[in-house]
Structure formats: structure tokens, C-alpha cells
Symmetry: none
Subunit: 202 residues, 4 copies
Amino acid sequence: MARPVSIRNEQILDAARRCFLEHGYVVSTAAIAKEAGVSEGSIFKRFGTKEKLFQESMGLPRLDVRALTEPLIGEGEIERNLEFLAIELLKFFREMIPRVLMTCSQPGLGPFDRFRNNPQSMPAVLLAGLRDYFAAETRLGRLRDIEPEVAARMLFAAVHNFAFFEYLGIAAREGEDASTFAKSVVDHLWHGLKPGSRELES
Amino acid sequence: MARPVSIRNEQILDAARRCFLEHGYVVSTAAIAKEAGVSEGSIFKRFGTKEKLFQESMGLPRLDVRALTEPLIGEGEIERNLEFLAIELLKFFREMIPRVLMTCSQPGLGPFDRFRNNPQSMPAVLLAGLRDYFAAETRLGRLRDIEPEVAARMLFAAVHNFAFFEYLGIAAREGEDASTFAKSVVDHLWHGLKPGSRELES
Amino acid sequence: MARPVSIRNEQILDAARRCFLEHGYVVSTAAIAKEAGVSEGSIFKRFGTKEKLFQESMGLPRLDVRALTEPLIGEGEIERNLEFLAIELLKFFREMIPRVLMTCSQPGLGPFDRFRNNPQSMPAVLLAGLRDYFAAETRLGRLRDIEPEVAARMLFAAVHNFAFFEYLGIAAREGEDASTFAKSVVDHLWHGLKPGSRELES
Amino acid sequence: MARPVSIRNEQILDAARRCFLEHGYVVSTAAIAKEAGVSEGSIFKRFGTKEKLFQESMGLPRLDVRALTEPLIGEGEIERNLEFLAIELLKFFREMIPRVLMTCSQPGLGPFDRFRNNPQSMPAVLLAGLRDYFAAETRLGRLRDIEPEVAARMLFAAVHNFAFFEYLGIAAREGEDASTFAKSVVDHLWHGLKPGSRELES
DNA sequence: CATGAATGAGCTTTCATTCAT
DNA sequence: GATGAATGAAAGCTCATTCAT
């Protein structure tokens, strides 16, 4: 009986996300409304305030890391598994990093409250998932007796940094693509830097 | 003959830095003036616009990485050297990261223009310095025949990530301190993850 | 469907005109908003900048002088016709002069650009209209063989000066009203100053 | 014994006049100081406020019209005398008009208070001087029995209008110079517009 | 439900004026 | 006397939010 909704929330959130990422929090709600093709009134009917709109549009995606790692435990070559995980992580980071960086600009709105000492926060959960994978493989003897937290962190950090530099346009290495990077990182992580360590393999 | 200058630029820049980092770019110039203990007029006399003030106050510190690495080449244990470098990097990142993140919130003012494809940008120079150190040690045979770019990036990434998580308050590991972290990272990077690689040492 | 417009542009322009004429360009937009009974925001929504508002509110009225002169050609007594034109011109100048003077205060916004060497500008068109009337009457032999530009200019100038003095409150002659002034001017212009020229009539 | 004054008031007033005439009252005191080559402080030491500076720098020049007219009474041809007076008036108006127009923009500062109903004001005095000349010549029978106020006003108005249009850049007539204009005006004023009035001369 | 006109608080910026030297 | 650094009040303008339709 009532008039049906004709504007989808996603339509507004997508536009808001584009605007915020391009211009920062200071972009005007009028600009967002125009980008979304709706009236300013509609935005406020739905989201109440600009802050709420910002938070919702900058909401972090989730990655079910356990769904990725569990099938790998004890299966295949570890190096291949790690490369696979690196690539998957990278896809995720490419989406996440711009949003995290943008929200960092608004302390109080930002991820600070959500992240601070919160083991349920997305990065903490993600890291825990990786750590559990390394722990499982260690228990199976497929890895040296390492600290799984540290190994997980190093893989995570390498990929995070790659995505971060990519986003900022920092030219770390000429024409480096993601898969080459993943292979190199895993190779170095696997064999270590110590001289002689690789040669002993044969 | 005229009234002498009684307000140092640093006094304003420090206040601006504190305000921007605490509240984001949206903090008002009035608040900055109050924090600095000067009039708004004085701020604009010195810096012209809020944008300029933001850029100057968020200006990135430089780290002379070669001054750190050069004395290390061929000297002492590599692992100790890497731990030392990690700690120094961390000190630097703790200062730099908040500024980079904050400026990322204002595309157009931000580091984007300064970073994009610019091999003279601070992160690129820093990374190059580390790479050269790894290359030098490799040439001396003190490292396995690795890709120095990759090794440098992995160290850089690990420290960067540590500082990043620290800033965001992400609880990666209970009560982990910097020096412990550095030791662990270097240990894993040195020996690698491959089973058996450490035991062969003895 | 949206809220209907409830503020007419004229409402703002009239208020702006009153304020500018009373206090000069330096009057604040806040004062204009108050005078108009609207918010400052509404003024800027409509006119963009104070400059634009000034220009629009000080826009010069037009006088269709040909519509006035054409019915007069060859009809009635010339002296009466000229008195009629003087009175009409005066009405127009009373509205126009304050605006021209006010805009002269803002070189760059003022009438300078619109007037300079522009034969389509209001004063030029007005003068041309008068000149054509004098030329037409001269062709009909109802005027001495004069230069119509000069005659037109003299009538125009006399009325312009009357309005100018009136606006500035310069007491040129005790208690002189417009119609008396018009009669006197036309009389002197018609008969000239030369002695004996009038007496010959009878 | 005391330090001698090293800045002349004229230096400041000239600069102020140039600035006000070019940019209007809104020009900043800083700009005036720069133009004058002195410090802002010095301006305020001398003139107290911007308003006072404006008024002093826009002060109207005086013309001793009686000194011009009295030698002419009863001497030479009237037409030549009137042309001479027109040219002298024009020189004066060229200096005066920009200042009057500029001050009109600041009601309250402007000439309003000085002009309003003030028979001692410069324009009133000027006009009275001209009127007395016409009256004197009329008494001598060298003019038709006219109203001297009106004749004076017509001459004054014609020259005023010429200077006014010149200042605004209004193209009244192609390539008209001052002396031609003066001759034409006096000729028309002298002989009048009535047909036949000239021919009777011979 | 959707609109966009209207608002007013608050922003950045300017600038006349003061003051320490 | 002369300077120009410093001020702070107020300006022009923006924009998140409300509201009448």
C-alpha cells in the first residue's frame, strides 16, 4: 500500500565510497548525493548523519581466512600454498587498504575504536587464521619448529606492504607484478637468508 | 627596528601536527591557534592557507639509511646488524606512519603526488638503502645469493607492519615488545621456514 | 514534489539594493540577509558571491527612448515636447544615478567594463535616441540647422546634472522643482542667450 | 634634537588616492602602505583610521571661479568667454569627478554630509560664481534677459557631463575633443535651437 | 518515499589596528 | 619617528541538516 522504496542503500553507499576515497572526508554530502543521483534528503533519511554514512561506506570487508587455509593443511607443497595465500591476501588488501587509510584520517570515526585491543577485529582475526595454519603445518612437521605468529606476521606484512606501496604509487621495483612478488617472498621466507642453506637441499 | 618575531614557526607547526593527528584534517584553524597559543591571524600570516599548514606540519621526516648501514657492511654478525636496523627503522616509522596515514585522507594534499612514481620519495630511498646493504653483504658472501630487493622489502615490511598495527592498536600478540619482535623476525628471516635448516648449523 | 520556492529573487535583490545604496559595497552580507528576512545561505545559493549580488542588484534599468520620441516627431510644439522628454529623462535618472555612482566605487565590478567604448551601453543608446529626435525635427525644419548630437547632449546633461545634484543634496537653487527646471532649461535652450533673439518673435 | 620626520604626508596621500581610485574603498591599508613605500604603522600614526585617510585623500580640490570670471565681465566676446570658462571647468572636473564618484560609494564618509544643503560646498560655490558672471553680463545688456542660474547650470551641466562620460569611457561622439565640444556647446547655447534665430543676425 | 529549498552554525580567511622594539 | 609582527573581530562563504510539499 505504501510507496515502495526506489533507492537502494547500495547505490548511495557506493557513491559515498567513491567520493570519500577520491576527496577525503571533507567531500560534501551534496557531492555524494549528486554522484549517487539522489537527493540530499534521501541520504539523511537513510543514514542520519554524514558520520554514519562514512562509517558504513568505509566498512571493512571480511575475509574468511580459515576457509582458505583449512583445505591446505598437510596438502601439496608448502611453498605453493603460501604463494596461493599471498595472492588471496593481496586481493583482499587491495580493497581494504584504501578504506582503512581513509578512516584513519578521522580519529574517532576511524578504525581506532574498532581495532584497539579487539581480538575480534578483522586484522586480528585474519592474522590468527594465518597463524593457525602455520601452527598446523608445524605440528605436522612440514615446517621447521618456528613461532607461527612470527611467520604469519611476516607473510602478512610482506603482502600488506606490497598493497600499500601499490596504492600510494611507490615504485619499489620496476614492473613487478603480484605473482612474481609472491613467489620471491615465499622463496626467501622459505629458504632464509643464511648462506649455504639452499645448497644443502640437493 | 620593528617589533621582533616572537612566535616561532615550530610552535605553530607542532601544535598543528598534534591537532591534525588527533582530530584529522577537519580540525578547525581556531583550535590549532588555541593549541599553539597564538592568534589565527598569525597562522595565516605565516602559512597562507590551512592546506599549506597541513602539508608543512605533516611533512615527512627523513632517515639517512646509508649512514646506518654503511658502517655495518662486512662487520659483526649479520643477524645483530639486521636487528639493529629493524629497531632503527621502527623508531622512524613510529614518527612517520601517523603522518602518512593522515595525509592519505586528503588526496590532492596527500603524499600521493609526492610518492607516485617518484624514486626520490622517502620510502623509495629508504628501501633502496636497505637493498644496497643486502647487496653488499651478498657480494661479500655473508648472505646466501638472494635478491636484495626482496630481502630488503621483507625486513621493511615486517617493521612497517609492526608500527602500523601498533598505531592502530591492533593486538597482534600479547605484550610483544619491539626488541623481541625484531629478534624473532630476523631469526625467521635468517634461517627460513624450511624444516631442518636450523639443525644443520650445529 | 520538493519543497516549493518561498523566497523570490526580487526580495533579495531589493534588500541588497537598499543596503548597498545606503551603506556602500562594504555592507555585510549578513546585514543584507537580515534586511531581506532570509538566511545568508539562501543569498549565496542564489547569487554565488557578493560580487554577483552587487552587480545584479545594481543592474541598470533601461529606458526605451525611441518609444518616447517617435510619437513626438513633427507633432505639437517643440518646446512642450522637449519639456516632456526632460521630465521623462529625469524620472529615469533618479533611479539610475544612485546605481551608477555606487558601482563606480568598485572598479572592476563597476560600469566601466560595460560602458567603455560600448555603443550599446545604456547611456550611449539613450543619447543616440535623443539625437535622432533632434535630427528628425531638424529635417522637418522645426529646428534651426543645428548639430543634433550637441543639442541632445545639452538636454541630457542638464537633466543628468539636476538629478545628480538632487541625489547629492546640493542646493543649486532654493525650492526648485523638476517641472520648473525643465521649463527653464528648455526655454533657454530654445531661445538662446543672445540678446535680442526673443524680442524679434512678436 | 628629536628624530626628523622622513615621510611626507603627501607621499601617503598620493598613494592612497591612487589605490582608492583604482580599487575602491575596499583596498587594504597594507596595499596602500606598499604603494606608498612605508609601513602600515606609519599610516596609522598619521591618519588614525582608514576612514580619515580616505577622506583626506579624496578631499576635493577647490576652483576659484571668481578669479576666472571677474576679468571677463564686460570684456571681449561673450562666446569666447564662455568657451574659455568651459575649458577651465573641464580641467577642474577631470580631477574632481573620480574623487566625488569614489566618495559617493561610501555614504557616511562621502560628500553627502559635506554637500547636503550646504551653500558653502564646492559645487554650490562654483555654480554661484558662474551665475554671478551671467548676471553681471546680463546687467550690462550683453546677454538676453535670462535667468542667470539656469544659464550657469546649463554650461556647468554640459561640461560636467562631458567629463563624466569621458571618465566612464562612454563613447558619446567619435573622436570629439574638448575644445570642439566647448565651441559647439557655446554656439548652441548662444543662438538657441529656434529656427530662424541665427539667420536674422546678418 | 523522495525532493531540494531553506537554514544557521561554523568554517577559513582578511585586515584595520595596536604595540614592542 | 618608523617598523612590521601580532592581534582579534568580523567578513564571505560552505554545508550538514531540516522541513514543507
